[in-house]
């Protein structure tokens, strides 16, 4: 069965620190990749997506992600986090179907 792994369940950073959240998926075929964010008390919001083309994808709020096909990875990065980035982050993969398979999520806490 297809699966998505997010290695870090909890991450604590200080403001201005750099962020990298890992995401690996199990399927070797064509995939569409997403990162969603869930701020406290809010609904899931799309941060960025990859369908094809440039493997370095830029999203909203200064986030970016890099698709590395050989490593089955789609890691999320941000050069300098802010307190307002405190949230839960979900990686999701569409395995050439209509369903999204989500990872277990990473809770990020940014200390002011």
């Amino acid at each position: 069965a297809q699966s998505v792994s997010q290695h870090n369940h909890h991450v604590i950073l200080s403001e201005a620190a750099s962020l990298e959240l890992g995401c690996n998926y199990s399927y070797g075929g064509t995939v569409n990749l997403f990162w969603y964010v869930q701020y406290p008390g809010q609904h899931l919001q799309l941060l960025l997506k990859y369908f094809s083309g440039d493997p370095l994808v830029k999203g909203i709020k200064g986030f970016e992600a890099e698709f590395i096909k050989s490593k089955f990875s789609f890691n999320l990065r941000k050069p300098s986090v802010q307190w307002s980035d405190t949230a839960e982050y979900f990686c999701a993969v569409n395995y050439a179907g209509n369903m999204l398979t989500f990872g277990g999520g990473t809770r990020l806490m940014v200390k002011p």
Binding site: H43, Q45, L46, K49, G97, N98, L100, F102, G103, G104
Partner: protein, 112 residues
């Protein structure tokens, strides 16, 4: 534009009862999906509908059913509720595959 709207926002049901959750997609979005999010986990795919037809079904028992109406709104029905059905139920819609899904705020179901 209004986002994806779900109703009710919260409800409490007793084991063995039936529940109907409702979703209105963003105007112009013909594809609707349902996900279950248990506390501390990523969302799990339940159903996907497009143009009133079921296009995908996740690994959920037959107690779960759904339908999509001509106006593209959707209902998720769960029969014979179990304590383990307590979760946040999310509805998501999209206009076309490359748009990614937009999620609603969810319905928090508690089964007692």
């Amino acid at each position: 534009d209004a986002g994806v709207t779900q109703s009710p926002t919260h409800l409490i049901k007793t084991r063995g009862q039936h529940v109907t959750l409702r979703c209105s997609p963003i105007s112009g979005h013909k594809s609707v999906s349902w996900y279950q999010q248990v506390l501390g986990q990523g969302p799990q795919f339940i159903f996907q509908y497009y143009e009133k037809e079921e296009r995908g079904r996740g690994n959920f028992p037959d107690r779960f059913s759904a339908r999509q109406f001509p106006n593209y709104s959707s209902e998720l029905n769960v029969n014979a509720l179990l304590l383990g059905d307590s979760a946040l139920y999310l509805c998501a819609s999209r206009k076309q595959e490359k748009d990614g899904y937009t999620f609603g705020s969810g319905t928090r179901l508690t089964v007692v």
